[in-house]
Each structure stands twice: as C-alpha cells, then as structure tokens.
C-alpha cells in the first residue's frame, strides 16, 4: 500500500474523527494533515504495522491532546457558553436537549472528551481507546464513567482528569 492510497482510504475517517474532537473545520484539517505528515515520515514502519489506521489514529489523538494541553487552562476548550435557553414548544425539546448535551460535552476536560468520542462515536473498545490515547484500559473505564456521570448531572466543573 502506498501512502497516497492510505490517505485515500483512511483520510476521510481521520478527518471526521478530528472534526468531532475539535468541532472546528480548520483545526480538524490541520490536525489530520499534521497526523498524516507524521505517518508519512514513518511510512515504512507504519505500512508494515498490523494496523496502520490505528497508528494514524493514535498520532491524531495525541496531536489533539497535546494541542489542548497547551491551550487548556481550566477554561472551556471550545467556545461554547452556557445559555439561558428560551422556552420552546414540545417539538423543539429534542433540539434543545441536543444543544445542552453538546455544551456539556464541550466542557469536558480533553481526555474525558476524547474517551467519550472514541467510545460512543468511533465505537472503539476500552483496549483500542487505551492504545489510541497511550493509557490503560482501566483508566479509560474510569474516565468514561466519570465523564458520563458529569454529562448526566452537568457536574463537569468538578470533573478531574483520570490519568
């Protein structure tokens, strides 16, 4: 497999993952291109790996977390603010609920958000998430449980990152 064909096959999925993680078109493209550039540099090793796409995903996730680690100062990593939602008709309740959940996800610390995305969107199991994030499956489970609890209660302000 050539690097070009790898990008053709996996680029779209990586870009979607980057977009779900960042919520921003420009950042998602930049994150994906940076990850692919790293993959290109190590292409001989990557192409011989059991799962080149897992390697690329790990590079991308690490890039995302490193980027946020530099930016994360305890404030919101994504520009989503709490809103006093106006009264709505019943048929809009689902939309309102979705927006509220989106805001709560945006408030999650980076690693918790990453675990949630990889589990509930990328549909990875704990081992695969751990591999992508360079951590252990037990840490993934703890982080996921805390994140879900926070999302249900909107207690994200008290959520600390599990390492």
């Amino acid at each position: 497999m050539t690097f070009e064909s790898f990008v053709e096959q996996q680029g779209s999925a990586l870009l979607r993952l980057a977009f779900v993680l960042t919520g921003n078109h420009h950042e998602a493209e930049d994150l994906t291109q940076t990850a692919l550039a790293d993959v290109y540099r190590h292409w001989r090793k990557v192409s011989a790996a059991r799962s080149p796409e897992a390697y690329a995903r790990r590079v991308l996730v690490n890039g995302f977390l490193s980027h946020l680690r530099r930016r994360w100062t305890g404030e919101r990593a994504v520009d989503v603010v709490d809103r006093d939602l106006p009264p709505v008709a019943d048929h809009a309740a689902g939309v309102v609920e979705r927006e509220a959940l989106r805001a709560r996800v945006a408030k999650l610390p980076p690693r918790a958000r990453t675990v949630v995305v990889l589990r509930f969107w990328a549909d990875l199991d704990d081992d695969a998430i751990a591999e992508a994030m360079g951590t252990t499956a037990s840490t993934v489970r703890v982080t996921a449980a805390r994140a879900l609890a926070a999302l249900r209660s909107d207690g994200t302000a008290d959520l600390e990152e599990a390492r």
Binding site: V7, H42, V116
Partner: protein, 225 residues
Amino acid sequence: MSTEQQLAELFDEQARQAPAPDALLDGALRKVRTRRRRLAAAVGGTAVLSAAVVLAAGLSLGGGPSAPIAGPSPSGTVPAGRAGQPIAVAGVSTSCVYAYSPELVTEKLDFAFDGTVVSVGAPVSQRPGDPLPWDYAGVTFRVNEWFKGGSGDRITVDLPRSGQRLSEGEGSPSEYAPGTRLLVSGMARWGGSNPLAYPVAWFGCGGFTLYYGDSVADSWRAANN
C-alpha cells in the same frame, strides 16, 4: 433515550458536517516539506549558501591567520583554541528546535561518534527524486569511537560545506578539512530503523557537532551510559 445514545447521535450529526477530505494529501505533504525546512534551519539554517570553498589536506581552516591548526593529535587536528567548541555558530535569525546538550545527543539523535575527516565529497542523504535543495557535503570520517548508533571504522555523513555559514551574513562558518577531528552527532534524515541511513549531522544551536575536546567526549560517553 440514554445519554450514550444521545452522544452517539450527537457525534454522528457532527461528523456529517466534517469538511471534505480533498486537501488532506497535499496538506500533509506540504507539512512534511515545511518540517524538512525547519529541520534544515535547526541543523544549520537554510542551505542556500555559496560554496566556493577549496578543501585540501593541510588547508588552514578559517581562511586566515586567526585560526591556525594546532599540532596533530594521535587521531586528528583541532583548530587552536577551538577544542570542544561547535564547528559553526548560528546567527540570530536561525531558530533552534532543540538546544544542544549531551543528554539530547544520546536521547534524541540517531548516531554520535568521535571521528577524523578523511575526505569530502558529494552529499549522501539526498534521496532520488527529492526536489528540495541540499547544498551539503558528504564528509567521510575515520571513526575513533562510537558513542551511539554505529560500529564501523568509516562513516560518511552530510555536513554543511566547510566555509558555509548557518545563516547568511551571520555567525561563524563551519570549518574543517581532511585531518580535522570532530565530535559528530546527527540523525537518519528520513527516519527508519537504520540510524545510519541517509545520515545528516546536526550542528548549530550550541553544539551537536563540535571540534574534538576531551571534556565533551567524556560528557557524551557519560550521557550514553
């Protein structure tokens, strides 16, 4: 609906709004090229330099009486007063990815050795088809001691040509000739498992490739241990 299902739907909805992947390949390759240029800056500034330098055994390094060659050591010569000093000093416009330290040499770089220049020829780290400029010299060393990455008694490594400056009009140029003894560290330019594939020396940024000095050699040996 459970929180888990809501999350899955939320992320699905977000994913559908992701940008098209049209620019990924070009963008990734552009970043590769940019990184190479930064690497070149880290190891010696962009290499668009004139290189009309005559290299000959016994040539007085530095082009003037201010840099005489000291008497020969058992394994080569070092310009007087330059023992343990970097072979080139960058100007203010050269940015460094890493600042030199003996630990960095053994932790980050692929190879490090004490060697004496035997000959200077064409660069060896240019891959066929790579269009990027690479105005370096392939310098063959007789290796006195390996600190990391190799075991043979000869190695050819790309270095900036003797007389080149790391940034035009700034700093001091690299100066060496057959017989000069250097401490050289660097990396496989294109990565991979072989530390000596397409080897290029790092220099500037306070060190990485220096005129031989006992204390520097000791520090590399200690860092490697």
